[in-house]
Amino acid sequence: MKASDKQAYLEEYELLKKKGKPFFPYAVMKDSVMALVVVGVIIAMSLLLGAEQGPKADPTTTTYVPRPEWYFFFLFELLRVIKPPELVPIATIGIPTICMVLLLLLPFYDKGPERRPERRPLATTAGILTILAMGYLTYAGATSGSPTEIDMKVAPQYKAGAEIVAGSGCLACHKLGENGNNGPGPELTHIGARIPRAAIIRSIEIGPSIMPSFRELPKEKLNELADFLSSLN
């Protein structure tokens, strides 16, 4: 923005302000109505939806759904979109950090004097695309499959292991046949053919990358789980 543009804006603004109305009571009235709507919505949500507790946090049992609150779904879903392990840091930190830096520095690279959105096609398009992308990722996160149900034919000796998979929330991040979510974790449908039983146990105990560690799982359950997973080929 050139100095003359700045001057012109300040002059125009001064005129607009002269034509305007005082903050009190006109703007204060609108703000107060809006404040009442906000508190009304919060009260209504509290009364209708409540604040019920889930089961108590327990590192040794793993019946949980490792899912964030809905406003972090877009970050979580980014991990499903970007799959290869070597690209995970880009999805987890890279893209959000770049977006934040771009957002923070916006007024320093978008310095044009134009303010009307229809005359800033680049900025307006980028803004709308960002909203659509975040909206889509949030929707995808909200509608992803239930991680605690498993529906597949399992040989009787592996039944116990399959129940642990269902009960431990593995399917929140892993796909298993028709069940579960495709990502962020790798697909488990043929995991037994891809890696040996010992490596499966090691992964469960260590929790590589963003996966939580399950080393608190009792030895017996761990073995049943590994039996089931290594049978998948």
Partner: protein, 318 residues
């Protein structure tokens, strides 16, 4: 015409000259309380009227020491530009949602214990035993979602209206920092109820931080405060959620609002100031915008020897 603030502000609140200054009324100090009547002609019997005066006297006493009435009336009666509409309530709505979070958070803090053994049962106590406990807990929980939505709506309005441009760049930067702090509040608050969902979601969240390049492992170590998510993690999240981030948010909201009052809110980008019919040579400001001092003979009005009708007729910033 008297200033609007002069009409509304009671006389004792207006710029009172300091004692000893020129113009200060020279009132002799009363000898003692009984014999010193008020200077004003008052009917001593009408105590009701005296009672009515008391708040005014108190305000005058405070304002003599704070000298804030000028600033406050200036802030309250400042003009907002033409075209200001409902989109401009999103900022104050966000502030209001924050106030709801702060107030409900204080009441929750009265009953919450940030320890791994007691956190869950203290939330159960709030939900089941405390008067209106679940209601206040629910307001805090859902208020977080409402606040996140309002922050994004407010940012969207600022973005599409081009309101981050000169001279309000700094306020945009402060706003983005407030967005990050709001998301930090959302992340750290999620662990505090200490149920399965919050426990495991926080582990994944911390692990996600850990995959970042260079600083990632340090960040996740800092958040976890130990090899496993446990008691130290909970108290660290509690301190961040209760002390560190709210303090930073309050300070930055103060700076944000200061700049809003200082620079004024924008008008919608489609709103144009009506061009005055006649160029007013009294104001330099009108010259550049109106530019309608145009005369075919080229002899327009001048300000300080500078001809002002040489500007383009469109005047409005392109």
């Amino acid at each position: 015409m008297p200033k609007l603030s002069d009409l509304l502000v009671p006389a004792p609140l207006r710029n009172t000259p300091k004692p000893g200054e020129a113009g200060a009324p020279k009132t002799p100090a009363p000898q003692d309380l009984k014999s010193a009547p008020p200077e004003r002609p008052t009917d001593l019997g009408r105590t009701g009227e005296k009672a009515l005066e008391a708040p005014v006297e108190a305000m005058a006493w405070i304002d003599q020491r704070m000298a804030a009435s000028g600033f406050l009336t200036g802030m309250l009666f400042r003009k907002v530009p033409k075209g200001t509409n409902w989109f401009y309530t999103l900022g104050s709505a966000t502030l209001f949602a924050f106030i709801v979070q702060a107030v409900t958070g204080v009441f929750l803090a009265m009953f919450y214990t940030p320890s791994t053994t007691q956190a869950y049962s203290s939330i159960a106590h709030i939900n089941n035993d405390v008067f209106l406990g679940q209601f206040v807990h629910g307001m805090h929980k859902w208020g977080a979602s409402v606040m996140v939505i309002l922050v994004f709506l407010h940012m969207g309005r600022t973005f599409f209206f081009g309101a981050y441009k000169y001279p309000r760049e700094l306020n945009w930067v402060i706003g983005v920092v407030l967005l990050i702090l709001t998301m930090t509040m959302a992340f750290t608050g999620y662990l505090l109820p200490f149920d399965q969902r919050s426990y495991w979601a926080s582990i994944v969240g911390i692990n996600i931080n850990g995959t970042g390049p260079i600083v990632g492992p340090y960040l996740s170590d800092f958040l976890r405060a130990g090899p496993e998510l446990g008691a130290t993690t909970l108290s660290r999240f509690y301190a961040i959620h209760m002390l560190l981030v709210p303090g930073a948010i309050i300070a930055l909201i103060g700076a944000h609002l200061y700049l809003v009052v200082k620079l004024g809110t924008t008008a919608p980008p489609w709103t144009k100031a009506d061009k005055p019919r006649v160029a007013t040579p009294t104001s330099n400001l009108d010259a550049g915008v109106s530019g309608n001092g145009y005369r075919p003979d080229g002899a327009g009005p001048t300000i300080a020897g500078v001809q002002i009708d040489g500007h383009n007729g469109e005047g409005a910033p392109a």
